[in-house]
């Protein structure tokens, strides 16, 4: 692991909303091609952490480095950073007034300045790869939740990001639609995409993650391989959390 280059590095990241400190000094190092899963209770800071990496939230203290380059400096071009970091949200956030194809090509044409023909060819290829080719002319509201989330993943992928952030992407889905989205993510992992995934799907985390981080009250309390975290958690808080998950039948 250590031989690989660092794709993402967080050092002492703090973030508060008003008087509430959501992140209280997060350190995290993600290597290239690594899949890191963030687990933890709601409100532990998983989503905020991802939004900070995408610069959707400005951090109060600490530094974030993307492939060795500091992206939290005040003078950094946020649009340039976001081009390199894809994020997929829990609520899909597709653009409802655009077709699937347009959703995918909006940024590639207007941000990467690809020609319409080139962008559409690429988008079509990606949609095909994830079984959505026949949906390219549809509007998002006409798709199932699972299809919408796959389109959202394709939309982020089309930018050819160096890093993908997935923020509880299956939490808003009906149970029977979760599998199709998880298999897409698994495929991305196998293709070597560097990913940081906030998730409540523990078995998915166990199967796919190279490393699992347990967040508690704005800190990474414990991290290690899925085996270590799920079978031999050291911290009492981690044990407590996992016991509750097991009791709920989610593992």
């Amino acid at each position: 692991m250590s031989a690989r280059a660092s794709a993402l590095r967080l050092e002492g990241v703090h973030k508060s909303f008003g008087s509430f400190e959501v992140l209280r000094g997060v350190d995290l190092d993600v290597s290239e091609h690594e899949v890191v899963c963030l687990i933890g209770a709601s409100g532990s800071g998983k989503s905020t952490l991802l939004r900070c990496v995408n610069l959707l939230e400005r951090i109060d203290a600490g530094t974030i480095l993307l492939n060795g380059e500091e992206i939290t400096r005040r003078d950094v071009d946020v649009n340039a950073v976001r081009r390199r970091v894809g994020i997929v949200f829990q609520a899909f956030n597709l653009f409802p007034h655009m077709t699937v194809l347009r959703n995918v090509t909006l940024a590639t044409t207007h941000v990467l300045h690809k020609s319409r023909a080139e962008a559409e060819a690429e988008a079509t290829a990606l949609l095909e790869r994830f079984g959505l080719a026949d949906k390219r002319g549809e509007y998002p509201d006409r798709l199932s939740g699972g299809q919408q989330q796959r389109v959202a993943i394709v939309r982020a992928l089309a930018m050819q990001p160096e890093l993908m952030l997935l923020d509880e992407v299956t939490s808003a889905l009906d149970p029977e639609l979760v599998a199709e989205v998880l298999s897409v993510i698994r495929e991305l992992a196998e293709a070597g995409m560097t990913m940081v995934i906030a998730t409540h799907e523990m078995s998915f985390a166990r199967d796919t993650a190279n490393r699992v981080c347990f967040l508690d009250a704005g800190r990474i309390l414990e991290q290690g391989s899925a085996e270590e975290i799920f079978t031999h958690p050291r911290e009492p808080r981690t044990q407590q959390f996992l016991e509750r998950i097991i009791a709920a039948g989610r593992l």
Binding site: N54, L56, V78, N79, A80, R82, R83, V85, G86, I87, F89, A91, N93, L94, F95, P96, H97, L106, A107, H110, V111, Y139, D141, R142, L143, S144, G145, R155, A156, M159
Partner: protein
Amino acid sequence: MSADAETGRGDRRSRILGDLRGARNIGIAVTSTVVFFAIVAIVVVNSAGWPEVRKAFFDRKLFDSSFPEVGHAFLLNIRIFCIAEALILVFALAIAVLRGLPGPVLFPFRLLAVLYTDLFRGIPTILVIYILGFGAPALQLSGVPRSPLFWGVTALVLVYSAYVAEVYRAGIESVHPSQEAAARSLGLSRAQTLRHVIVPQAVRRVIPPLLNDFIGLQKDSALVALIGPIEAFRQSQIDVAATFNYTPYVATALLFILLTIPLARLTDWLIARDRRRQSAGATR
């Protein structure tokens, strides 16, 4: 989209026709409509003053003779509000966007936008028309048009842009912040996000209130007559003064109605088409 799920899409087809499926329901609707209007007609026709009112307002011969004249003058109304509407659509959007700009540096622009909407929504339209129509040409500045028509249209644009800007703003604010987050996360700039994601959704949502304002504008085009130009209302006044009969007013009213009703139906159709495209036949 949850609103769709709550009301059920079938109920949205038409607010007026409501649930008219089934021959029995149609029969009831027709009968009650005929009875209602028959009663209204009987009451009006049997009133003591009806013969006088009929002569003064519904003179067939006068109607036929004044209608072409008033109709010709109405072309000016159409010109006035077509030009005004086009300008308002653009100008009001600029004001609304200006008002939504973030950051302390841009505070003066926001302030300006707020002052503008407060000012022009506060002053009665008729006063703005008078002040601009008589005041601006009186300045005798070179290069400033002196035509009352120009200033009449300008006054309408200024007043109605204030209203329409507020409509736009409501639409912009109704687009969920997650849409902006999604666009920005893809690397789109703030301006690109507004142009491609926020404004198109906002405009679709505000079409009905926007049309409402435009119907008001169409009627207020008659106010421009007060500073000179002879449009339909002014022409009908002239005709009334010549004959001491009010029938030309009825002719003018009819013209205004003939124009606004198709516009209202067109809007309903546009909204329905948009909704159909985006959500009908949802598979989830």
